[in-house]
Symmetry: D2
Amino acid sequence: MIVVLKAGTPKEEIERICQEIHKQNVIAEKSIGQHKVVLGLLGDTAALNVEHIQQISPFIEQVVRVDKPYKRASQEFRHGPSTVVVSTPNGNVAFGQEHPIVVVAGPCSVENEQMIIETAQQVKAAGAQFLRGGAYKPRTSPYAFQGHGESALGLLAQAREASGLGIITEVMDTADIEKVAAVADVLQVGARNMQNFSLLKKVGTTGKPILLKRGISATVEEWLMAAEYILAAGNPNVILCERGIRSFDRQYARNTLDLAVVPVLRSLTHLPIMVDPSHGTGKAEYVPPMCLAAIAAGADSLMVEVHPNPAKALSDGPQSLTPARFEHLMHDIAVVGKTFSRWVQ
Amino acid sequence: MIVVLKAGTPKEEIERICQEIHKQNVIAEKSIGQHKVVLGLLGDTAALNVEHIQQISPFIEQVVRVDKPYKRASQEFRHGPSTVVVSTPNGNVAFGQEHPIVVVAGPCSVENEQMIIETAQQVKAAGAQFLRGGAYKPRTSPYAFQGHGESALGLLAQAREASGLGIITEVMDTADIEKVAAVADVLQVGARNMQNFSLLKKVGTTGKPILLKRGISATVEEWLMAAEYILAAGNPNVILCERGIRSFDRQYARNTLDLAVVPVLRSLTHLPIMVDPSHGTGKAEYVPPMCLAAIAAGADSLMVEVHPNPAKALSDGPQSLTPARFEHLMHDIAVVGKTFSRWVQ
Amino acid sequence: MIVVLKAGTPKEEIERICQEIHKQNVIAEKSIGQHKVVLGLLGDTAALNVEHIQQISPFIEQVVRVDKPYKRASQEFRHGPSTVVVSTPNGNVAFGQEHPIVVVAGPCSVENEQMIIETAQQVKAAGAQFLRGGAYKPRTSPYAFQGHGESALGLLAQAREASGLGIITEVMDTADIEKVAAVADVLQVGARNMQNFSLLKKVGTTGKPILLKRGISATVEEWLMAAEYILAAGNPNVILCERGIRSFDRQYARNTLDLAVVPVLRSLTHLPIMVDPSHGTGKAEYVPPMCLAAIAAGADSLMVEVHPNPAKALSDGPQSLTPARFEHLMHDIAVVGKTFSRWVQ
Amino acid sequence: MIVVLKAGTPKEEIERICQEIHKQNVIAEKSIGQHKVVLGLLGDTAALNVEHIQQISPFIEQVVRVDKPYKRASQEFRHGPSTVVVSTPNGNVAFGQEHPIVVVAGPCSVENEQMIIETAQQVKAAGAQFLRGGAYKPRTSPYAFQGHGESALGLLAQAREASGLGIITEVMDTADIEKVAAVADVLQVGARNMQNFSLLKKVGTTGKPILLKRGISATVEEWLMAAEYILAAGNPNVILCERGIRSFDRQYARNTLDLAVVPVLRSLTHLPIMVDPSHGTGKAEYVPPMCLAAIAAGADSLMVEVHPNPAKALSDGPQSLTPARFEHLMHDIAVVGKTFSRWVQ
């Protein structure tokens, strides 16, 4: 962290500022120029608050954070990319830069026994390793279908047994973590809850792998800080999922899929990266090209909404692929995955 | 809701579409033109899902919602603006378009007994009716001060008794509602939790007045739908609070205070409207002009961060006024409030 | 400007970097800490390019601009606010913080002789000092009305004579500057041309006062840099006009009026500030409250669209006030202007 | 276009509205429901103005455009994708969905004879078909390098002769079109000028192929309308170039590259699509993965900044590749291009 003092700051004030900074358990190194004095702070500056420092004196012109505010999520924290291994009935599946692409597929929400089991079997046959499906659904309107809740968890357990797929499903309330974790192999924290810090802290105390979706207007830094909450609570198994951000234009695509975030994250963090083009674009016809583009951008995993009959889906129908369309996409994913050496024959 | 069919939709398909729509308990009225057929849906369309309708047939070109998706929050739901009356030790305080401006003031977070009681007494003396102060603080970093939690609730209770002010404080977790509601006169749902639907549903079952802050990238419609969650759960006492939205420029002001949302909300909803220029701009020197602008724009209430020593604040120091600066602001608020006939002599 | 070097940068590389920086005619002062070396650059750093410096060495971790990139537009460039005085048939009108609020009113575009002369007389009678009206209109669609061009300039000249009002009209093409300047008392550079640098340079060489509208997604810094183009070309008479920025929500208001930019600009620049709530909100009913809010926020001038018959306007009808509504607004502006000591009895 | 009337609109008012609409040369078909009346407008509605219609009566609740506001740019205007053929010294090059990927490479700005000729030869050798290079540079600061202007055009002509590559360079001022067109094979209209309608109209009257960059906050519709200006002026040779949009997060990537716009555009327009990941991300290390992702997303062409010595570049150094890095990238582009059947062996 660097503190820039205004031209003409009196010597005594500089001393006072340095003393105040020392109280924060960091050292301030002075660089005295002709016009300005710059203080370089050394020590555990991640714990410092930029605003707090700024308020020490009206002579402080600017405080600049040079070190990143996250530690455990940072590239520097470990050597090489981390791998999140998830145990499923069909065996362990590894998410990470050094592993083949993992495909997660399934409906937005669990609607009934037949649909979820059939979908699980179909996406399994096409090559997916995980089934997604919402039991608790965050919906903008209180009058929209809110998910079947606890009973849907039971259906996911059945689908898991029938297909051998791992299960990824969302948890929205700290009170539900235990129930959901009893069924899910990966707990999803949704975009709207990315800064629900109570939830982050509590899923951080479980041993479960966590899929952390990016908030709809979360900066990369805020997203990594949300991951840091989970990591700091003791859970190292975090997968980041880009699912589209909010921009000024929502006429044709529901969100703006930020694919360049894949190489950006790669340069900042060791955590595995998933991309969800279904939510990211909101329209089924844009999903296949953006899945292939995500692989080319370097993603480690894809999440794709698949519904046996999108026209009848209780939620997110327009962005869901039919099982047949998904099977076709899996073929293309394999071809492109091989081109990038991210696919197992 | 209006359904536009593509040119050349076969007659039988039109019939099929109408039948599918009828299953949703609404009636489809046909308008057959030379090129296109338009269906106007009549009935309780608020419960319909645009996407769901769109998926009925590939011949559907566009589905347009004409009616608003919220009901209880809408202007049409009642005649005239609603008033939220809050009982405080100093007597009832009414929030709403037909009442004087209500000022809420206090520190970002409750730091210790002396500071919160002194601040309460100072803002009371200057003319505030409510004390704000965080016990549970949502912070971007897990390493930042998270609020003193339960013990801070006790201090707020003391400050309430010492000053007679009503208390507004945030609740972040469904598990804490009871504890917080035992002390607070108004429960705040923060910007990051505006779409924490579990929380909205549960605060909706309490009788407490709710201060619903706008999410940092929430559209007006999403905000009113969040209010609708609370109203639909049976709690009519919702106050909306604009606190700045996220835009492309954060260099000088932390957020973009959307003051025009005040007349926009006035035309759409009967609920009382508060403006928080402290979070809205992030910088103390911009707070006074934006408070006065908020009154001129038609706001019913103001929230202002006040700290006895902003330079030492554990959070949000840069946007906090000193008690002396706040007292001066209250004088200006009174002058402008009188100009708009929103102040009691 | 501050250059932060990575931990472990070799001594010789530090020397090489300093030498490269000296070639830019600035001095690099070293601050050598335990972990990092920080260079503070002294001299005319406004002319330096952050990116250029960053590329000197791969050991450079970060380059931070501490000084502002604009000079002539900055608060520090002169003592106190600047005044732009415009000569009109009715006498000189002064724009600036030390002067009463100036009101500019008129239709989006000049439609015909009768309408522009009548409107001029009506807004003059209500208290406006300038007539706005487009001869050349920037329109999203090539099929929309593009303005009457040169013939409209003649009508503006007539309206000027008939009413004594000053004329503000937009120039869109460097080839038209002379023609427009022959009629206009103030040349408007529109939002879409805020970064049309050819146009900025050329209007900077005229002596005319320039109204510089903020680009729809321009940061404050980009806006001030656009003003700097005009100032650097020798024309000190620049008025800044906020007219709404683009955000994620355009459902109810066409743009997001960024009123907090008024105190932000006040702290950064000496230039006079205008607010245009007509374009800023896009809806006539939101214009009056936002005019009053703009005064409270500290604006020096207001621009209001007025049309004798908004329903028949060739452009921007929905955001135009009728002359009667405008007259009523002027009464309120006077009341609020007096409250803020910005109105002449 | 659909006009929704408010509940309770009197019969006579409905008649009056229909008559007003007929004056616009379109027919209004009534659909009379229990609660609302909906008018479907038939005819050349592209020329109608939504706002204009809305103002016909206060009983109009909403006007919805169902038809697209652009015609010549639309998918429906022709059967199949269009091809823009550009004649270069090395032969004709075809841009379009049915042709191999075209790569455009070169420096941000033309700095001197040696650098531009060497760069041209290097990118040619690596497989590029066009040389980019700015003679006139739009720069945020008046104090930054503005391009060498006319003399740089001469150097581009030399580079064209030396390498046989086609030349793409930007034109910023209507006064410069002729000069630039004498050298360039493709005229670039930059992002900041996407809505410089004077410029669009004039380049539309030349026969030259036009590269139309997307404005930094332009919606897809605004972009296609800008293309429509050129097409309507008689020039059918328009290539669209995505170069990143402005979002709320600019900390790591300068812009947000909107790759999903590729399939979105494909579904809306027949025009060829280029992607520029150099401006789109602002950082050299993100350029290669995003080039490959652009191919996977379906782009027809790529624009890549290449500079012999990025650290010494007069502009945009941080986002430029070295010739060696570019050569390596071309190898990867070939591999991925072949996977998608968009590359010639």
